[in-house]
């Protein structure tokens, strides 16, 4: 593995000529980056969102709890559908996760239960926005927590990449310019064909804010896409990726990581978790797709000696109600499980017990752990940046969990 200082830079800071924002409102009262100003550490963060609201209770199953079975006559997993966990918490795995269970056995999985936030939101896009922005449920901001990582040193010359058609909020920064694409060659040919009209560089006092925004976006993106095309190489993977969308997306991520560029964060989604009806079949299908793709990716990274520098973080915008609904499914809920997959986890297995199924509020699980504490771990102990530059926490309430 190449050292970070030799990483190929996608972002060209000299391209930012017009309208670059110099100060950010959001961070004006937050802690500034400490002056040590270490370089970015050559770590890769892969974030996967299970979109639609994955049912946590049928993922990490309280299989010795009667309340679970009583509330879910049609939806509860039966014995043969569960792989028992070995830890102290009586939590089993949905059998669709069997490849992930193998990682658990090897100490490469760390699951945090009861993750959520105060005043939970059950709307898909708003709840998703909260997880992306890294704010309290009452705060609205346009940038995402990982996008803000690239607004500052040591990551200001790095970017994130979403294997998506458009850039998700999580990677939006104040002035960083992360990219979204599903096919690098197609994206490159679009920009190559684009004659950058010289008039587009003309900037006068009459130009509006949106004009400046567009000019900056165009100049930066064109340069980045050209750099990316130049550095991107395809490698023969050391494991076979499943043909699912997530499998294909992770294969692209694998090539990007091996190409050793200054991309530090990768964002992917797998949809179909909004299990209002016929949950057992539908969720198992999606979880199995997730597990097989992640398994192939981990094997590939390991075989190339890259897993020690790669961390996978998986979350979903909310969990689901304890009680099943009338159509063999579950409705939008609150607290949920989120997990890390990696080689150097400090606390392996289950970090904590599942939240109580008896003491619910309106049949919803009560959150135990503020989701932003997981972000603190990632920022401080994986990416090596002080979390105050990214997450607003004026009263210093957020503490990491010490997982990484």
């Amino acid at each position: 593995m190449l050292k970070n200082d030799r990483r190929k830079f996608i972002r060209d800071l000299s391209a930012i000529s017009i309208g670059a924002v110099t100060s950010s409102n959001f961070l004006s009262c937050a802690t500034r980056l400490d002056s040590k100003n270490e370089g970015a550490q050559g770590k890769n963060l892969v974030v996967i969102q299970l979109a639609g609201g994955n049912d946590g209770l049928n993922t990490f199953v309280p299989y010795r709890n009667d309340i679970y079975f009583k509330n879910r006559p049609n939806v509860a997993l039966q014995k043969k559908e569960i792989i028992a966990g070995s830890g102290q918490y009586d939590i089993g795995f949905n059998q669709a996760l069997s490849p992930i269970v193998k990682l658990y056995d090897k100490g490469m999985l760390s699951v945090v239960n009861g993750v959520g936030y105060k005043d939970p939101i059950r709307s898909h896009f708003r709840a998703s926005d909260i997880w992306h922005s890294g704010t309290k449920s009452s705060e609205f901001i346009e940038t995402g927590w990982l996008g803000r990582v690239f607004d500052h040193a040591p990551y200001h010359d790095h970017i994130g990449v979403a294997i998506e058609d458009s850039l998700p909020p999580i990677l939006k920064g104040q002035h960083s310019n992360s990219l979204a694409f599903t096919d690098i060659n197609r994206l490159y040919s679009k920009y190559k064909a684009l004659e950058v009209n010289q008039f587009n560089q003309l900037n006068d006092i009459h130009a509006s804010e949106n004009y400046r925004f567009l000019v900056e976006k165009l100049t930066q993106t064109k340069k980045q896409v050209e750099n990316l095309k130049q550095y991107y190489k395809t490698f023969t993977p050391k494991s076979s990726y499943p043909p699912s969308k997530l499998g294909k997306d992770l294969a692209i991520v694998s090539n990007l990581i091996k190409s050793d560029t200054s991309i530090a964060v990768y964002f992917l989604t797998i949809g179909g978790f909004d299990s209002h009806a016929n949950q057992k079949v539908n969720q198992a299908k999606r979880l199995s797709e997730y597990s097989l793709a992640v398994d192939a990716f981990v094997k590939d990274m390991k075989a190339n000696g890259l897993m020690k520098d790669t961390l996978i973080f998986t979350f979903s915008e909310f969990g689901r109600r304890v009680r099943e609904n009338g159509s063999k499914g579950t409705d939008h809920g609150t607290a949920n499980s989120a997990w890390f997959i990696g080689e150097s986890l400090k606390k392996q297995g289950f970090y904590n017990a599942l939240p109580s199924l008896a003491n619910t509020v309106g049949n919803d699980l009560v959150f135990q752990i503020d989701y932003r504490r997981l972000y603190v771990d990632i920022l401080e102990h994986w990416l090596g940046v002080s979390y105050g530059t990214v997450i607003s926490d004026p009263k210093n309430e957020l503490k990491g969990l010490g997982l990484l």
Binding site: A193, N200, D204, F213, L214, V225
Partner: protein, 447 residues
């Protein structure tokens, strides 16, 4: 008195930009507003773009459960292209219209405001008529009609909202997206409101709203500080009694029609006025378009055009006509906005959200795409070197360069630039070279 810049601004915001022949006229404020049909009372009768026999085929399709397989296949073939044709016809109306410019702009706004998704051509055609005919009337009638529309009832699960098993989807979006907005209601309000909407449904064959009393929860609901045996209509009335609802609607209208960044005081002033007018949409819009602040320099070219703005505006300005409205689907895919296919229930947030690494190059080369230059690039490159080539006669262009930018000063900058770089000879030079420069400019992305 309006200036030239004001008129262009008004035509872009209340309509889809100038046609060359419209630009040739001298406009007063009154003329322009009347021409755009802003003064309308919403009395116009709108016709569906589907024929009676199309509807008859659709009814057969909706009833297909009872048909033999061969007959199902036959009807499927018949109706398969209807939906894209219906949406395409709506876009074509925006391109062609001379009399209904503002009502059509308003219908597009309301589709943004009430995003929903459907593949059912008949329901889509009827939904478009609803937006056109009620889009300038009072907000309550519009909201109620949308709430009872088969597409919305399907999209937000109103049809699954039963007394025994309430489904909160519609009630949540009603409060969060369609009316008062997040922060002004509780989770309890959502639960209680969903009970009030139980029993709503529609006739599968005709699409007409139906109330099913046996599925309706007749119990007492506690909603926003009131309690009673509320029905869905009562819930809507209670929400509309709150001034905050008028503020939220006005904020969205302001961001769409005036400037993406809003001024809280102005929104309050507009909202109070809208509230007192009993939510009269047409009157509110007239008030906005006759306010001096609407024409402030800071509002000129402040918005990023939506994909539909680009598709419609370019054709109006160039007097183009595409051979088949089905072609609009490809353009919507290219520019990343498919009508009746929003990415999620929040719809399209617009402005900078239109811009991503994929859509940006597509937008900047859209002029070339539409003019068919891509396929014949070699020919035109040779011509471009001569710099005096006229637009080929087979492409019927009626463009007036002056209509392309709203801002007079930006227009001056562009033309001075093009002339000084020998790209065009004069301001009246209607050559393809100059046109391509204009259409691929950043300025053209704004309106």
């Amino acid at each position: 008195m309006y200036t030239n810049q004001d008129i262009k601004h008004l035509f872009w915001r209340a309509g889809f930009g100038f046609r060359a022949e419209e630009y040739a006229k001298e406009w007063t404020r009154k003329d322009a507003l009347e021409y755009l049909y802003v003064n309308s009372t919403g009395k116009r009768v709108w016709k569906s773009s589907l024929s009676p026999s199309d509807y008859s085929n659709l009814r057969t399709w909706r009833n297909r459960g009872k048909l033999p397989k061969a007959e199902i296949l036959r009807v499927a073939k018949l109706v398969s292209g209807y939906r894209n044709r219906v949406v395409g016809n709506w876009i074509q109306e925006m391109v062609d219209t001379k009399k209904d410019i503002f009502p059509l702009r308003m219908s597009l706004f309301w589709h943004r405001y009430f995003p929903c998704k459907s593949n059912e051509a008949g329901y889509v055609a009827d939904h478009i008529i609803l937006l056109k005919s009620k889009g300038l009337g009072d907000f309550r009638s519009l909201l109620l009609a949308v709430a009872k529309d088969p597409i919305m009832m399907t999209y937000l699960d109103t049809v699954r909202n039963k007394k025994q098993n309430p489904n909160e989807n519609f009630a949540r979006e009603l409060l969060e997206l369609f009316t008062i907005g997040i922060g002004h209601y509780t989770e309890e309000d959502i639960k209680e409101a969903s009970r009030a909407f139980t029993g709503w449904g529609f006739d599968k064959i005709t699409g007409e709203y139906q109330f099913n009393p046996s599925e309706h929860d007749t119990g007492v609901k506690r909603f926003m500080g009131k309690s009673g045996r509320f029905k869905g209509e009562d819930i809507i009335d209670i929400i509309l009694e709150k001034r905050q609802t008028a503020y939220t609607i006005c904020r969205k209208i302001y961001q769409y029609f005036v400037h993406p960044k809003y001024d809280q005081d102005l929104i309050k002033e507009l909202g109070d006025w809208f509230y007192e007018s009993n939510y009269n949409i047409g009157a509110l819009m007239l008030r906005i378009f006759t306010s001096d602040w609407f024409y402030d320099d800071k509002n000129i070219s402040a918005k990023i055009k939506s994909p539909i703005d680009l598709i419609v505006g370019l054709q109006r300005q160039l007097n183009l006509k595409i051979p088949d409205v089905k072609g609009y689907y490809g353009m919507q895919v290219l520019l990343d906005q498919k009508l009746f296919e929003p990415k999620n229930v929040a719809g399209w947030s617009g402005d900078r959200q239109w811009i991503n690494s994929q859509s940006l190059p597509a937008r900047l080369t859209f002029g070339d795409y539409l003019l068919g230059l891509k396929r014949q690039e070699m020919v035109y490159k040779a011509d471009a070197e001569a710099k005096t080539v006229r637009v080929p006669s087979k492409v019927k262009l009626g463009f007036e360069a002056n209509t392309f930018f709203e801002s007079t000063s930006r227009f001056d900058s562009m033309f001075n630039y093009l002339i000084s770089h020998n790209q065009i000879l004069s301001r009246n030079d209607k050559t393809m070279t100059g046109l391509r420069q204009i259409l691929s400019s950043i300025d053209y992305q704004l309106c």
